[in-house]
Structures are given as C-alpha cells and as structure tokens.
C-alpha cells in the first residue's frame, strides 16, 4: 500500500518535473530567440551608425526626430514642458520615460535579468557594476571620441574620470567637471533662533559660551513657548543618527576637515578622529550644559520626527550638528520670528581646516548615465548628449528660458519672481511643471555651486538670486545684523587643503570595524554627556579608546594611512 502510494507520488513528481522541463525548455527557446534577436538591434545599430556616418557632415540631417527610452525614479517626470519641447527642437530627440515607482535597484536588477532595460539608464554605481558584468551596457570610449567633441571639451580631453577601475573602459557619463565652485548653500553647524539673538541684542557669537549665555537668559525669561517647555540645545540621535549629528558637531567644533571618519595629518597619516585632541571638547560642553538644564537629553535617543515636532512648536532654541531646521513650517505657523540662523563656531585656539571643494563628480556617489545594449542607435544617442553638453543647452536645462525663468542683470543670471512664486505655490511638482527637472537625465546635475564655462552658476537653485529671494525676511534681517547676506557668509574662514580622493577604496575589514567602532562610540557618548563628575570624563573616553584598540584600531588606522598616502601619490598631492 505504502509502496504503491509512493510509486504514485513518484510518477506524479516525474510528470510535473517533465512538465516543468518542457516549460523551461520553452522558456529557453523564448529567451534563446530573444537572445538571438538581441544582436540584431546592435547590428541595426551599427548599420544605422554607418548610415548616419554618411550624412553626418551635413548638420541639418542630425536634427531628424528620434525617440529613445530612459528610466527615471521621478514619478512626475514628463516630456511635455516647454523646456522639453525646446530640447526636442534643438536636438530632434524625444525621451520616453520608463518610470520606476518603488524599489529602484530591484527593478533595475529584474530588468537586467530579463534584458528589459531601456535604451539609456540612469544608474547607481554598484548596480552599474552588475550591468557591466552582464555586458548590458556599451563601452562609450570610441563613441565619445568619434562623435562627441563637446563632451571631450567638457572633460578637458581627459576621460580618466569616467574610466572603469577594472578594465579602463567607459561605461557611462557623469556630470562634467567645473572650473570654479562657489557654494552659497553651505552653512554653519549650530542654528540659533532669531528670537533668542534679538532678545540678547544680536551679540557676537564667537564661542559656545556666547551661545550658552544667551540661551540661558532667554530660557529664564521664557520658560514656556507655545504652551510647551522651552528646550535649549537639541537634535535627534536615534540609532545611527546619534553618530551623524553629534560627531558632525564635534568634528566641526574641533576644526577638522570632513575626511570621512578620519583625521588626516600633514604626512597623510590617517587616524580615527575620535581620539584627536579637541574632539571631545564639544561633548564636554554638552556635559556641562546638561547639568544646567540647557541640553535636551532626549537628543540622544529621539527620532527625527520627534525632534521635528518639537522644532515645529518653536520650542528648540538651538540645533547643533547640522541637518535641517524647520523655518518653513515655523513660518506657516506664524512663528517666523523663531526662524533659525546657522553659525559656525570653532573651539578657541583651533584652526579650521576645510577640504578644497571637489570640482568634479563624486565617483561612486553620483549616478551614471549609460547606454545599454538595447539602444537602437547608440551613435544618435551620444550625439544627443554631446548636443546637451553645449553651453546654450546646459543653460536651458539648468535655468530654463531667459525672460520666463530667469533674466540677466549685470551680466548674471537672476531667477524671476514668477519662478519663485511657482515654487511656493506647488513645491511638489514644481521641477517637472516648469521643466527644470532634467539635469540628472542630461548628465548636467551640477553640484552645489558649480559654474558653467561662462563663469555663472550652472543651476538656478544654487544661485545668489534664488537663495536671496527664498530666504525669509526674519532670517535676512538677522543675517544683516551680522553683516551677512547668506548663511554661507557666517562661515569661519578656514585653511583650505586639498585631500586625495579615497571614495570607494575602503576595505571590507575597515567597514566592519567602522560599524563596530560607531556602535561602541554610541554606547560611550551618552555616559560621557550624562556623567555628573567632570573629572571622570577623560577616563570614560579612554575606556572607548581601549575597547577600540582591542578591536584592532591601530591596524585599521594603518590601512587607512596607506590608502590616503597611495591616493595622494597617485593624484600628485
């Protein structure tokens, strides 16, 4: 009986297995045919390449209309704006968007497996690696050299920035380098409510003690704001945000440059900055003001939402460590007088070191723009991007139309009030509606403060005029009291130093150690700040140093040093 049923079971399993096999083989046939079909687009691509090579001398032939597909993670992306129409007019190209809503990388990987990707892809660095391994993206080296003089010019005839580290081929475009960076969006790390400054009569803010004094005075006068208890210094520190916000504040107060987690000295020796002299100064300050009731101990644990709620109520007098203020929300709640202004403070006796701003795209950070095997006419696509690298087209993408989006005053592009108004009335679909949301897809997503070859800002949102026209009157008034026009003017002038690029060079061992180090750091910091006896503070921090040394701190420092020194040598620093 048992045997019989087993036999039956076996037969059923076999039957289904055979069905599966046939199904799979059909499947294989399917993909086989699609595979055998896939060379044909490339064949036709080369055919059209040779075809387009003939009429290429006659310029008008290039403007023939053509359409290609491209992915985007922007659900509101369109090709119906005036800017898009103008791009089509100038280049002949129309982009059909393949919108990804939901998990971007998953969809990219599913597409890769199925060979279903669009003709041009906007892709993260690590996903691009999978595409390269699967040979799904084209090598652009020759295409650029033969068909894209403007791209060559934008990269100063040096395409090494784009080369793949494994085989030296070029699989994608990044935003081109710039000659000059004027970053007006930069701001200090400690935000103080305008109301507090006004109440104190706009005193000089040079040290943390200056801040402590005015906050203490204000709290004494206003124990409550909007029905809730007034809070002195706050931010959010849930999970890894604790490190992000508190470390950032400590680093900037100590004057260290932003070189990942390390302090890098003159000989390119890299060390975890936790134990550099001056690093704990800010935490010591927090320890002191905690006893005075000026520190919000919930900062150590609260989520961003919890913090933002307090901030929106106007109760937080000082935000430290960076992140976002809540000025827009305060204004709509009629509490604009509580708007924040960001100050930059460096510990007495310390010099601020600033890393020279990068003038080119961050490899590994920015998204690539790649042409896939599915492209029907790669030559035409690269010609389109070459067109987009022309100055007048970059202005179109970054600024829109003169007269409508911007005007020229004293030789500088200035955003119009119409544009500002559009932004205020519907900020959610503003970029797409006015047609200024194509920069990333045109590979001209210039970083903050990047300039074009005409010396003016590449993008409207980083320009002086935009920042001035959208800063609230209260902030403008407060800034004026300190002789500043933008938040960037309040920055302490530091010593600039060029650091080697080391992005993506960390080893797995370093990453693992870093995670552990941050976890230990996160356990130690609350003890440090909440400690009642100031004489014990140094001991607590030394405990952390000992723990990390046991976990291999010295070795990681050595590896990091080697990476920095090698990179410095490579980049002739």
């Amino acid at each position: 009986m048992w045997k019989k049923s087993k036999l039956k079971l076996l037969s059923v399993v076999l039957l289904t297995a055979s069905m599966l096999v046939t199904a799979c083989s059909k499947n294989n046939n399917g993909s086989g045919s699609s595979q055998s079909a896939s060379p044909s687009p490339t064949a036709s691509g080369t055919a059209s390449a040779s075809a387009s090579a003939d009429p290429s001398p006659s310029a008008p032939a290039e403007k023939q209309p053509f359409t290609f597909t491209m992915n985007t993670d922007n659900p509101n992306m369109n090709w119906s704006s005036d800017v898009a129409k103008e791009i089509t007019k100038r280049t002949g190209a129309t982009i059909k968007w393949d919108i990804i809503t939901g998990d971007f990388r998953t969809k990219m990987n599913v597409w890769l497996a199925a060979g279903d990707y669009p003709e041009v892809i906007n892709i993260h660095d690590n996903t691009l690696q999978s595409y390269i391994q699967a040979k799904a993206v084209l090598d652009l080296t020759d295409l650029i050299k033969e068909h894209a003089p403007n791209i060559m010019k934008a990269y100063h005839n040096d395409l090494s920035l784009l080369q793949d580290s494994n085989d030296g081929k070029i699989y994608g475009l990044l935003q081109p380098p710039t000659d000059k960076v004027v970053d007006l969006t930069q701001k200090g790390w400690i935000a103080i409510q305008s109301a507090v400054l006004k109440d104190a009569g706009y005193p000089q803010i040079k040290t943390l003690d200056d801040v402590r004094k005015i906050v203490a005075d204000y709290m004494k006068k206003n124990p409550e704001i909007g029905g809730g208890k007034t809070i002195g210094f706050s931010n959010f520190g849930e999970a890894n945000q604790l490190f992000n916000n508190f470390d950032s504040a400590a680093r900037q107060y100590a004057g260290f440059a932003n070189t990942s987690g390390y302090y890098v000295d003159d000989q390119w020796n890299a060390r975890y900055r936790f134990f550099e002299p001056g690093y704990t100064d800010f935490f010591k300050f927090l320890n002191q003001i905690n006893k005075e009731g000026l520190f919000d101990p919930e900062s150590l644990v609260q989520t961003q939402d919890q913090f933002t709620t307090k901030c929106n109520q106007g109760r937080v007098l000082v935000i430290f460590g960076g992140g976002m203020d809540c000025n827009a929300s305060l204004e709509s709640n009629n509490m604009a007088d509580h708007s924040y202004v960001w100050f930059d403070i460096v510990a007495p006796g310390k010099t601020k070191t600033v890393a020279t701003p990068e003038k080119e795209a961050r490899r590994g950070g920015e998204m690539w723009l790649s042409i896939t095997k599915n492209a029907k006419d790669p030559v035409r696509i690269i010609e389109f991007y070459d067109d987009m690298f022309k100055l007048e087209n970059q202005i179109l993408v970054g600024w829109g139309f003169e007269g409508k989006h911007y005007t020229i005053e004293n030789g500088k592009r200035v955003v119009t009030d119409w544009l500002v108004d559009q932004y205020k009335t519907h900020p959610d679909t503003f970029w797409e509606d006015v047609g200024l949301g194509y920069a990333r897809q045109m590979s001209t997503n210039y970083g903050a403060g990047f300039t074009l070859s005409d010396g003016d800002f590449a993008m409207w949102q980083f320009s002086e005029s935009w920042i001035q026209k959208t800063t609230s009157p209260v902030v403008v008034e407060t800034l004026a009291k300190y002789g500043a026009k933008t938040q960037a003017d309040l920055l302490v002038k530091g010593v600039e130093r060029k650091y080697p690029r080391t992005a993506g060079k960390g080893t797995d061992e370093m990453k693992k150690f870093n995670t552990e180090a941050i976890a230990e750091w996160g356990k130690t910091l609350p003890k440090f700040i909440l400690e009642k006896d100031p004489s014990k503070l140094d001991g607590i921090w030394q405990g952390l140093e000992k723990t990390l040394k046991d976990k291999g701190l010295d070795k990681v420092n050595e590896t990091a040093t080697k990476i920095f020194q090698d990179a410095a040598k490579e980049q002739n620093l």
Binding site: S5, T106, V110, N312, N327, S329, N333, P427
Partner: protein, 293 residues
C-alpha cells in the same frame, strides 16, 4: 438567567468586557488617529499633540489628493481588478477544491502535495518576471488576474469545508443526472457560502491592496496603473519635496505625515465597506458547523 449569576461570574464578565474594549480600541484607534491627522491643517499637524479631535479642521489634504487627475482611472482599474479577480479566484479555487475533496479522485493526495509545495516555495522574483514576460502578460491587464487565479491556501480552506459536506448530497445529484460541474456550480457553491465569502474577502482585500505586480510588470503602460500604485507615486513625490525643503519662505507646506494619513483613510474605507455584507456569512458559518452531525 441574569439574576442567577454569581458575583464571580459578574466580575469575570466585567473583566472580559474591559479587555475586549481595550482590544477593540487598540485596533480602531490607529484609524481614528489617521482620520484626525488627515482632517487637520498640515502645518498645524506638524506641531504634534493631536489625539482626539482635529485642532484646525480642513479638507485641504483630501483636496490635494483629488487634484491628481490620474486617480479616477487608477481607481477604476483597482475596482475592476478586485471584482474580476475575486469572482474568478473563488470560482477556480473552489473548482479545484471540489475535485480534491472527492474521495473518488485517485490523485487527490499527490495533487495536494504539489499544491502545498507552492505554499512554501515561490519561484523567486526574477524567474517569475521572466515567466510573465515570456507568457506575454507584461503590460497587460491580465497580469492582475491570471497569476493569482489559484492560490493553494484558498484551495485548502475550501477543500476542508467541502469535505465536511455530506457525501449523499453529491451522490443524489449524480443520480438525478447532474455532472460534477453542475454539482459544483449549482449545489456546492451555494451551500458553502460561508467559505466562499471568506475566500472572497481574502481575495478582494489582497487584490485591492496589491501594487507590486503593477510596479513589476505594468510600469510601462500608464493606463493600467492601479490606485495603490498612483498613491505610492504620490507619497514618493511628497517625500522628495519634503527633503528638498530648506528654509524658503511662504512655501506651501506639503507633508508626508498628513498626505499619508489621508491616503490610508481613502484606500481603507472602500474595502471596509465590503465587510458588513460578508460578515453575516461568517456568523452563519459558525452555526452551520455547530449543527452538523
């Protein structure tokens, strides 16, 4: 009867009611909370402290959601897929369950075994995608219906119910000349309304909430977008808007907090309306089971 209850019984009842009330409140309150947030002015809601009533009542959040002109079509798609999917799924799962419940069917155990496998092992994301693509189902409405036609779980739920029905019922119908299809459609389905409605409810809720198949298979055909997908887009928009915020003055405040609450209320209410119509069958199901044997 009430008079004869002892003090202990009464205390027990009180405790029971209190516990049930707490349980009910904890399930209902999240919805009430979302309702309050969605009916409150956005910038005011960001200040927190909303617990029982909206502080500044407004319908702006709903107005914002309805500004989206794609919603009508997406809602229609959602309703269509829910209705068609529910009807077909119940019918198909029932059909298989009926066959598997017949003791005269030789391979019932083996088929059940194969079905069970599908409950534990899935094809994986990429193979499933390839299958759908090679079947020509991507970017079609059918991909909302066909892959989910038969679910092992529903089949087993229905089979268990059908097995409890007296064999005589089917036999007598056979004697009267009805074939199995007729027995299933004209007798079995109708006396099994409790289980039919249970499965229908599961299927309907599942189909209504589904958006992943839209994301995976149908992203290239805008006309096939379902409601949940459009709403997902909206949340994505609002969230990116929020991170771009900065301190620009006088900006219209659009916050994920209120928009998400509004959307949750909007998509939950239609499917909630299905429950009262099906609930009586659940109750009936219990009594039906009790009266057997």
């Amino acid at each position: 009867m009430l008079l004869h209850r002892t003090a202990g019984e009464r205390i027990f009842d009180v405790i029971l009611y209190v516990l049930l009330a707490v349980a009910a409140l904890t399930t209902v309150y999240p919805f009430i909370y979302l309702l309050i947030i969605s009916l409150n002015e956005t910038s005011d809601a960001l200040k927190g402290g909303l617990y029982l009533f909206p502080r500044k009542f407004t319908l702006d959040n709903y107005a914002y959601v309805f500004e989206n002109d794609k919603l009508a079509r997406a809602a229609l798609n959602s309703v269509l897929r829910t209705v068609i999917h529910t009807v077909l799924t119940v019918f198909c799962c029932g059909m298989l369950a009926y066959v598997l419940s017949r003791r005269t069917f030789i391979f019932r155990k083996q088929f059940s075994f194969i079905l069970i496998i599908t409950m534990y092992v899935s094809g994986g994301l990429i193979p499933t995608y390839l299958l759908m693509r090679n079947l020509g189902l991507t970017n079609t409405f059918l991909v909302y219906i066909i892959p989910g036609l038969v679910s092992a779980f529903y089949v087993f739920v229905m089979r268990t119910f059908f097995e409890q029905l007296p064999d005589g019922l089917v036999e007598s119908a056979h004697i009267d000349g009805a074939n199995d299809f007729r027995v299933y459609t004209q007798i079995i389905l109708w006396i099994s309304l409790p289980v039919v409605s249970t499965v229908a409810l599961y299927a309907a809720v599942g189909a209504w909430n589904a958006w992943f198949d839209n994301y995976l298979y149908n992203s290239r055909n805008e006309k096939l977008a379902v409601l949940q997908y459009e709403l997902q887009k909206m949340i994505q928009t609002v969230e990116t808007t929020n991170t771009e915020a900065g301190d620009s003055m006088g900006r219209r405040i659009i916050s994920p907090l209120t928009i998400k609450s509004t959307l949750t209320i909007l998509v939950t209410v239609p499917i909630l309306l299905v429950y009262p119509f099906l609930q009586k069958y659940f109750v009936q199901g219990m009594t039906l089971g009790a009266m057997k044997d």
